[in-house]
């Protein structure tokens, strides 16, 4: 992490003392954990006082079955600064059962469709989103497909007289993910 980004993270932690964690550096990328209550404010600070004009991506990850001591859903915001050519990842953790998060569409309009996609696939409700509805699945679809407890949903296929089920319910060699009942 270079000088300016580490200074920025220090400034950020100074501005939001309880809500921003230590920056973590893995694989050359800087991630900062942000608490869910102040996500929108942190993002606004990063855009106005910080250099991050562009939101590159909002991505959701469901850790059901592999990390029981961490909240289930992680929402990752990938920010990019054009003028300083730097990237930063914000990570927000949300427990299953209480899937609400403030929307950042007022900070970057780019978040509009990205948050709709996370809502569609994970069921996270973004409070304050101007138009939160499904985007890729049909409007009357039930369930949130990208969650780990949602099945792959394929049909059995016949090979030489034997019906083979879709890959997520077949017996597979173990993968050490510990994912319950689905893969091994």
């Amino acid at each position: 992490m270079n000088e300016t980004l580490s200074e920025l993270c220090a400034e950020l932690r100074g501005a939001f003392p309880e809500h921003v964690g230590e920056p973590a550096i893995e694989f050359g990328e800087v991630s900062v954990r942000v608490s869910r209550e102040r996500v929108a404010d942190v993002c606004r600070w990063l855009r106005d006082a910080g250099p991050f004009e562009m939101l590159a991506d909002v991505s959701g990850v469901d850790s059901l079955g592999i990390a029981p001591d961490v909240d289930r859903f992680m929402i990752a915001y990938h920010l990019y600064s054009l003028r300083r050519n730097e990237r930063l990842r914000l990570r927000v953790f949300i427990p299953g059962g209480d899937e609400h998060l403030d929307s950042v569409t007022t900070v970057w309009p780019a978040a509009n469709w990205m948050e709709r996609e996370v809502y569609d696939f994970f069921g996270i409700v973004f409070d304050g989103h101007p138009d939160l509805r499904r985007i890729l699945m049909p409007d009357d679809w039930e369930g949130h497909p990208q969650r780990k407890d949602y099945p792959l949903g394929g049909t059995k296929v016949e090979f030489k007289g034997v019906m083979i089920p879709p890959p997520d319910v077949r017996g597979q060699p173990s993968t050490t993910t510990g994912y319950p009942g689905r893969i091994s």
Partner: protein, 425 residues
């Protein structure tokens, strides 16, 4: 004129019209089956006469569940899924995914593989821009552009078929390098193509660039200024046409791009004509990069030599067609039981990738294509999220289209160059 919100979901069409409450505007549905919407894009337009007051894009008609499907396949099989997302530039999908996996694995791809990756990606950028030019021309009425664009593309597809075996959706770039080396006749074929290509672009420019009809339909249409573009996360030729000189190949070079000499195409107009000029220049620059990559191809292996990731990539012509390197086969079949077991596990289960998450962006023909890959330490990806440039750029569609005429909506969407496979994944 008071604004009314109309919720356009999957309901009956009469519902939508009734909800709009206004009888002086007309709500028209364009798509998802439409010759000019670049794939299965549905645009719901509210019209006052011929002017579009509001435009709502509805997407999801090509949603394939690629991200979910990768989670039940191993890391190498992920390449075949990911390559079909943005189907006009499959090498870019493969490249970004493989770079993400290699970052997690912490392996260094051999120099020859990196150079071939750059070569193929730039040729694919040309072929993707040719499809944009062909379909864009077709939609605006320059029908001969369709035939010319696809004529050049056929030559490129023949080259891809020679190298990878397939015209589209190649699955050639794998984590660790490439699946095979270039055949011996490939460099000459590519050189042949690159020799005649600049003439062809000159032909296309003489057909379109000063054509008063083309200019009338594209100048001042679909304006997206730089600050709007940045706020909406728009990248690629759309951003460069607004005057922002941002190209990931220069800003955050990957796969050896820092070794090549090329320029970023930037224009100031921020309209469809500026985007046209940006893409034409990009095709020329891509040809330049491809020539440099071809001229300076280093010798060496094309797959990383780590036995935990891949087996040797040298192929030999065996009695039944093709096979692995004879030395390797002798070793696993005759000499070492361990090596045989290892090979078996590598082929059936795949390699394990250490725990962690990365985000790797590349500059695809449409903008920043990023892969957020999360590994839980196993042989299958835990989560692969594609940040597709068409998805983010298409958000700006309503901004581009509102206020213009219906015919300009076609020109604006064509200049966006959305590929619905990438939008919907």
């Amino acid at each position: 004129m008071s604004a009314r919100e109309v919720y356009v979901g999957g309901q009956e069409w009469g519902e939508v019209v009734r909800q709009s409450g206004r009888d002086d505007t007309l709500i028209v549905n364009m798509g998802p089956q439409h010759p000019s919407t670049h794939g299965v894009l549905r645009l719901v337009l509210e019209l006052d006469g011929e002017t579009v007051i509001a435009c709502t894009p509805v997407i999801g008609y090509l949603h394939t569940g690629i991200e979910k499907n990768i989670e039940v396949r191993n890391w190498t099989q992920g390449v075949t899924f990911v390559t079909r997302a943005d189907y006009l530039s499959p090498f870019f999908n493969e490249l970004a995914y493989c770079m993400a996996v290699e970052k997690l694995l912490d392996v260094e791809v051999p120099a020859r593989a990196q150079a071939i990756r750059v070569l193929l990606c730039e040729l694919q950028r040309i072929s993707s821009h040719l499809v944009w030019l062909a379909t864009g021309g077709l939609e605006l009425g320059a029908l001969s552009m369709m035939l010319y664009g696809f004529r050049e593309r056929e030559k490129l597809l023949d080259i891809f078929e020679l190298i990878t075996g397939l015209r589209m959706n190649h699955a050639y770039i794998r984590p660790g390098g490439l699946i095979q080396d270039l055949p011996d006749t490939a460099p000459d074929r590519i050189r042949e193509f690159l020799d005649e290509f600049p003439e062809r672009i000159n032909d296309y420019e003489s057909l379109l660039s000063d054509n008063p009809l083309w200019l009338a339909r594209n100048t001042g249409i679909g304006i997206l200024e730089a600050d709007d573009a940045i706020a909406m996360g728009v990248t690629g030729p759309m951003l460069r046409a607004a005057g922002v000189a941002h190209d990931l190949r220069k800003a955050q070079p990957y796969s050896g791009y820092q070794n090549y000499d090329f320029e970023i195409a930037v224009e100031e107009g921020a309209d469809c004509a500026a985007r046209y000029r940006v893409r034409m220049r990009e095709m020329r620059e891509s040809a330049k990069i491809a020539r440099q990559a071809l001229g300076s191809l280093p010798a060496g292996p094309v797959m990383v030599a780590d036995p935990k990731v891949a087996w040797p990539a040298q192929l030999n012509l065996g009695a039944d067609g093709q096979g692995n390197s004879l030395d390797y086969i002798r070793k696993i079949m005759g000499e070492s039981m361990e090596a045989l077991i290892h090979h078996f596990k590598l082929v059936t289960e795949g390699f394990k990738v250490p725990q962690g998450q990365v985000y790797v962006p590349v500059e695809s023909p449409r903008g920043e294509l990023g892969y957020h890959v999360v590994s839980a330490g196993g042989t299958k990806p835990w989560r692969v999220h594609m940040r597709d440039p068409s998805f983010v750029n298409l958000q700006a569609a309503s901004h581009l289209v509102s206020g213009g005429l219906i015919a300009d909506a076609i020109a604006s969407i064509a200049s966006l160059d959305p590929v619905m496979g990438g939008v919907d994944r």
